[in-house]
Assembly symmetry: C2
Homo-oligomer: 502 residues x 2
């Protein structure tokens, strides 16, 4: 029997996907659990990735007319009480501040003191506190549309947490907008889910499906929730961003009113939309392999790392001079409208260890340069999405680096799209549905995305619960052909995507 190939991450994806995910994060130095239950520490390499995501998204928000602002981290308990569905959705899992001081206790420790008259909630989302402020800002139709975004931390008291995917505290952005008409608010909701799809596909190289959530899966208080859904390598779905049309629910709860051109005072129409550090989890599960993290070039903190190789001080001087000039030349090239990001790793460390350090962290291009390469005016190049390294002429590398990075970005997208297409099917009856979502072996990966006509959410709920399947969304595109419900046989207007999900 042939020896299994040696990989950097153990277990492999096929051996234990959830554990593989944790190990990739650890090997890539992205994040770790903190001493505070459910809260994570985002390490420098993970945070640089988040900064790149933030920068790209922020530019897109500004290009669509939004401005950033900042609102309080605390929400008075009474604010949550105002909107009935919203409080049901968020009261169950929140951090409650009840005191504003600590005092010595008799045992020599500390205890809470200074009880607050009204408890404060650490924001799980900010519709209520931002809405209360918007009620003051919005007076006339001339104040509309009001297009605001906030970058912030939020807290939801999750019992079972997993780094990036579900943590008690996470970082996100939340857009909050106010409009004079339902039409404009719906247009905004659609504009922003399209921005998210653009970011997911063109920056993260992660194909997504845009659709509407069914009533049971909507944001608490929303009239409609649109989302982008992606397939991970274990064929589970991951909701990567949501955009909510809130109708007049929050404007009525918070009294956001404006004087229309007619002179009448009317309730405004609001939206909210958000993506979070969960996107990093999505990125890991979309592209990484059994050697660790794989970064799409467009978001990579370093797109190229140069590893100088030498045996003595004399060689060192020559090699370092060479790689410094190579770095400058590469940086003067551009990819995706920005200078190529290049780093030199000259740490004193064994060559193999150093190479694997960058493989595991997902750097798109590794360049090894030693005295022999310099003689030939060439470098040894490894592309993170290909297993073999190869020699390449220096001038050719420099002139083609932008193309190489673009090619890798596209290759990652194509690979992810192929996985999704290979694991997507249309199902028209319950027997096939059961089979698709039931594994023959308890631990094996099974299922994928099933497109099924369905009549109503409630009647199929028991079946979905049994199989641990959820309705991901009702896709927007190519979904106008009526059919019959796969489970009940009733007439059904639309298909939904069914999948197991994160």
């Amino acid at each position: 029997m042939a020896k299994a190939p040696q990989n950097a991450i153990s277990p492999s994806r096929s051996e234990d996907y959830p554990q593989w995910y944790q190990e990739v994060i650890k090997a890539a130095d992205l994040a770790e659990n903190s001493p505070v239950r459910g809260c994570m520490v985002i390490k420098p390499w993970g945070y640089r990735l988040w900064e790149n995501m933030q920068r790209a998204l922020d530019d897109m928000f500004k290009a669509t007319g939004h401005q950033n602002a900042y609102f309080p981290i605390f929400i008075p308990m009474s604010f949550l009480e105002k909107e009935a569905e919203h409080v049901e959705g968020f009261a169950k899992e929140c951090a409650v501040v009840t005191h504003h001081r600590l005092e010595p206790d008799p045992d020599g420790g500390l205890r809470p003191a200074g009880k607050l008259e009204e408890p404060l909630i650490v924001r799980p989302t900010s519709e209520t506190i931002i809405g209360a402020t918007f009620a003051k800002w919005v007076q006339s139709h001339r104040d509309l549309p009001l297009l605001i975004n906030q970058w912030a931390n939020v807290v939801r008291w999750e019992m079972r947490t997993r780094l990036f995917l579900r943590t008690a505290e996470f970082l996100w952005q939340e857009g909050h907008t106010v409009h004079a008409t339902a039409e404009e608010a719906i247009e905004e909701t659609e504009r922003m889910v399209a921005v998210y799809a653009d970011f997911a596909e063109n920056w993260m190289a992660m194909p997504v499906i845009v659709g509407a959530k069914t009533p049971g899966e909507r944001f608490p208080g929303a009239v409609e929730t649109l989302s982008i859904e992606a397939m991970m390598q274990d064929r589970k779905a991951l909701q990567a961003g949501t955009s909510h049309f809130l109708g007049q629910n929050f404007s009525k709860a918070q009294e956001i009113m404006f004087q229309a051109e007619s002179g009448e005072r009317e309730f405004a129409w609001t939206t909210s939309w958000g993506v979070s550090t969960r996107l990093i989890g999505a990125l890991i599960m979309t592209h990484s392999d059994d050697d660790g993290f794989v970064l799409p070039p467009r978001l990579a903190p370093a797109q190229v790392v140069i590893l100088p190789i030498y045996r003595d001080d004399e060689q060192r001087a020559a090699v370092l001079e060479y790689v410094e000039s190579l770095k400058s030349e590469l940086q003067s090239q551009s990819y995706a409208d920005a200078p190529v990001r290049v780093e030199i790793d000259d740490r004193d460390m064994r060559g193999g260890e150093k190479k694997w350090h960058h493989v595991k962290r997902g750097v798109p291009i590794r360049l090894e340069v030693g005295p022999k390469d310099i003689e030939k005016n060439a470098v040894f190049m490894g592309r993170r999405d290909e297993s073999k390294s190869k020699g390449i002429d220096r001038a050719e590398l420099v002139s083609s680096i932008g193309t190489i990075l673009a090619d890798m970005q596209q290759a990652l997208f194509n690979r992810a799209l192929k996985l999704r297409e290979d694991n997507t099917t249309t199902i028209t009856n319950e027997a096939d549905f059961r089979k698709f979502f039931t594994s023959t072996d308890e631990d094996s990966i099974h299922g994928g995305f099933a497109y099924c006509h369905f009549a109503d959410e409630e009647s199929i709920e028991p079946l979905l619960k049994e199989l641990k399947v959820t309705i991901r969304c009702v896709p927007r595109d190519n979904n106008d052909t009526p059919g019959t419900c796969f489970a009940t046989g009733k007439p059904a207007e639309k298909q939904a995507i069914f999948a197991k999900a994160y």
Copy 2:
């Protein structure tokens, strides 16, 4: 009697400085109080300013070798207990999370439920939680120095709050570093206070004095605290940034240890340093005048605003075409190594109202352009730091815009420096000290910075309390001549700066 000149802000600085400050913030749309006691809403114009500050500081931190990361917002109560001085300093004013759920109460409202085993503190500063993580990250001397920065929100339960200057929640950055030797940690502490001084003087146009805090004014747990101190227009001091040498206090409390080259396990040496949204308060009080906010060009979200003037649609088309091309030309110029930031304000609003809108918001350069200006190929320019507007040839404006902005930046700095120099004195006896810090009229502005030799902090405490004066710092520069204490007559090695302060 001559009629007083009409100004945009009422009251004026001389009439009521604290109230003037609030009115400037309101008129410039920078921030407002929120429905949550002590927490502010930072409005878009204020947040854009903060983003510019962040960007500049972040670049400086990265240029000095630091990396960003993110740590939990919560600190377990037991972590605070570990460091005796630190807990004394921060336990008195913190937000305590005691429950993780809300449940319906019998009155139809909500009440906290799900009591936590250990209360959590919303971070007032993160030495303890970051230290606990660093204890894991640092194992060997090869892991040092560890140079980390975090951008975050923090909460201190202040009873008397004032927008930007003192709020329950504020935004800041906190640097946290670990070193193998005391010397390296002290060097880092000094390097970062120098970065703050550079930012204050060269970006904010705010002259500062670098000095060491006396023991009574140090950060709780620090061995030495360095700060930058600035003089506001009411001659009070404002501490604008601090850098702390923490010695081994936190490394011992958190067990941050490393294996030295000798093989011995040693406690590490740590530092921390921070600036916050308080800097915006400092900026307002340094440069603003009785017409509102004055922005130093280098930090201004918009450096130039163009106000097109026209009477009808025909004029409108011609004027807009002209200002668009003017905008492009100006943007192709650069100031302080970045393209000039130009905006056109074409809102439908009376000309005077629109002009004052931008005056109050502090935009450095206003350009008014109407059909007559176009005929002459000229524009009408108003500089925020000068009262008169003047006509200027278009080509001359474009070619000199960088110089004009640089000139204004320098003029603001010079004006602030002159105020400080005019209100700084050396005092050698208690009688003069009392006189300097006692106003003849209860409401008048008085005092300033007094350089005084002093022997020890405790013996002069009653005098300082009586006069509401504090020791700002022991300046680093030109402070080697011994003298005698102004209050006690005892021999004194150094001078300190005494001032009333924010």
